[in-house]
Amino acid sequence: MPVAAIVALILLSILLAGVLVYRPALTLHPAGKILAFGVLFFLPLFCFMAGMSSEMERSKSTTFCLSCHIMEPYGKSLQVDDPSYLAGAHFQNHRVPADEACYTCHTNYAMFGSFKAKMGGMRHLYVHYLKTEPRPEDVKLHEPYNNRECLHCHLGARSFEQGAVHNADPATLPAVKANALSCVSSGCHDVVHNVGTLDKVKLWNEGK
């Protein structure tokens, strides 16, 4: 449901609730009772659920995540013109949806993953408003990055399953799949955002 339609429905609900507040005697008639039930029970709950759904969708967008000042360097890292930068390479080549880039990699592909991701976002807001914010380069993940999030897309892909480096040692792939060896561990795909070194690298599509 588009935001404009939800806002229009909310305004209509406010108007109808205003009529009931101004003329509560309307509820003495059966039609007034139905109106009261619709305006004071059904419509507010429907508006809340529709709005919540819209807000949840919006909170997945890349622009939403990057609207916080501290995330600006992370947005910039998506524009690095160097394929060894994991986040930039995924974003620029649409290996993740460009308009939901942050959410796609940083959600949790387990049960209640979206909910956990939102709770993580709440923690960001708590730190932003009530604690001392770290420098962007000092921001750390809540927990070590789980390979499950990479394997959600890469598992079964030819480039992953038959990749020369992945198969150089027969123990590598099983260890990666079991999350015993991290995809982003040192010597593998360890250049992800690296926001501390962004001033030294060339950017693709700079200014966009």
């Binding site: 806002v7 509560p24 709950l45 709005g51 807000e55 807001l125």
Partner: protein
């Protein structure tokens, strides 16, 4: 008459709470900042829940007082 006025008073309180909640939600939907999401879910949700629950309470209390009156 007095009972009807009491119910009307409760409906008015419920209506005002719902209106405030909906107003908060409308503002948050038009204000696309992360903090808007939190205000939407917390303050907006709380006001609407309070309004709806107060409305339900007014229905229950009015029917129970009617029963006492009839007996």
């Amino acid at each position: 008459m007095e009972r009807a006025e009491r119910i009307h008073g409760k409906l008015q309180v419920s209506g005002i709470l719902v209106m405030l909640g909906l107003l908060v939600e409308a503002i948050c939907l038009l204000w696309s900042r992360p903090i808007a999401f939190v205000i939407f879910a917390s303050l907006g949700g709380l006001l609407i829940a309070a309004g709806v629950l107060f409305f339900l309470y007014s229905l229950v209390s009015s029917s129970s007082s009617k029963q006492i009156h009839d007996n």
